[in-house]
Symmetry: C2
Subunit: 148 residues, 2 copies
DNA sequence: CTACAACAATTGTATATACAAATGTATATT
DNA sequence: AATATACATTTGTATATACAATTGTTGTAG
């Protein structure tokens, strides 16, 4: 992936902004791919992310703020995101008995099953997206990314 | 930046998805920073991007499809994006005389001046965002990113 | 010359996101 | 106990984005 070629500029971009643009371009294409992979399942990336967080709870429900802080892309409105999952019957929502301000959200059996179908497609996508890189390269990449 | 800590999960994530998430997290925080830096100038990242593309034309106008293909994040609606810049008098739009289907967009003096103010702020932001990395690390990072 | 396809941009519309304000509940202060 | 403050979520609203359909223009085949 050549940055200058993709954004079609002749002049070469200085190292630091170039790096930021480079990462942005890759993340854009990764997001596009992931969105496309999830499309047949009729869930957005965010919705998928929430389902995985809920599964990670192993039966224990999570409240909205917990979900929110665990999401890769924080967003201001987790309520409406959960509404969508609720409409698909992938999650359940009930008010927390100990603290009625809070709400307890848990994944349903239907949600777990849907997620299992998505997992296979996602796994494949992740491997395809990183197919050109060796484990060593990826480890090195992670090390550099850690410095940000 | 530790991935697991940020998305608050105990279990360690496999290398390949972890790398993708890692990049996503960094790009998210970079975007946030850039958005914040541009906020006082009342332009979005996309609008700023278009202004820079137009300046790069050195007086020569660009049509919508040209702008669109040069943007870092392609978007489906460049017309409305240009509308916003038009309202701020940062750009001019006129129909192309040779091909009346096309439209010629060029940056105004006011646009150039506004952009110059933004440049300084952006340069600083870019340096801050990459301050923890050496040139060698950034070069290595770009090399690895090229493999995607 | 007319009909048709291709092109470039615009418009319509549904959905997503960001941000502020509002609602309802719990806790702390006097 | 009454009031105020903080908390967790929801709602309102403006803006952004994705995608499809439409408009106006140009090129081309018969």
């Amino acid at each position: 992936m050549n940055v200058e070629k993709i954004i079609k500029t002749k002049k070469e971009i200085p190292l630091r902004p170039r790096t930021l643009i480079h990462m942005q371009l890759i993340v854009n294409s990764v997001s596009e791919k992931i969105t496309a992979v999830l499309k047949p399942f009729d869930v957005s990336t965010q919705q998928f992310n929430v389902l995985r967080i809920l599964r990670g709870q192993n039966g224990k429900p999570a409240n909205l703020s917990t979900i929110s802080e665990r999401m890769v892309s924080k967003m201001s409105n987790t309520t409406r995101l959960v509404d969508k999952l609720l409409a698909k019957e992938y999650v359940e929502r009930k008010i927390c008995p100990e603290n009625r301000r809070k709400v307890e959200i848990s994944i349903t059996t239907k949600g777990i099953e849907a997620l299992e179908h998505m997992d296979a497609a996602m796994l494949q996508a992740e491997n395809e997206l990183t197919a050109n890189l060796t484990d060593q390269e990826l480890i090195k990449l992670n090390q550099i990314l850690d410095k940000f």
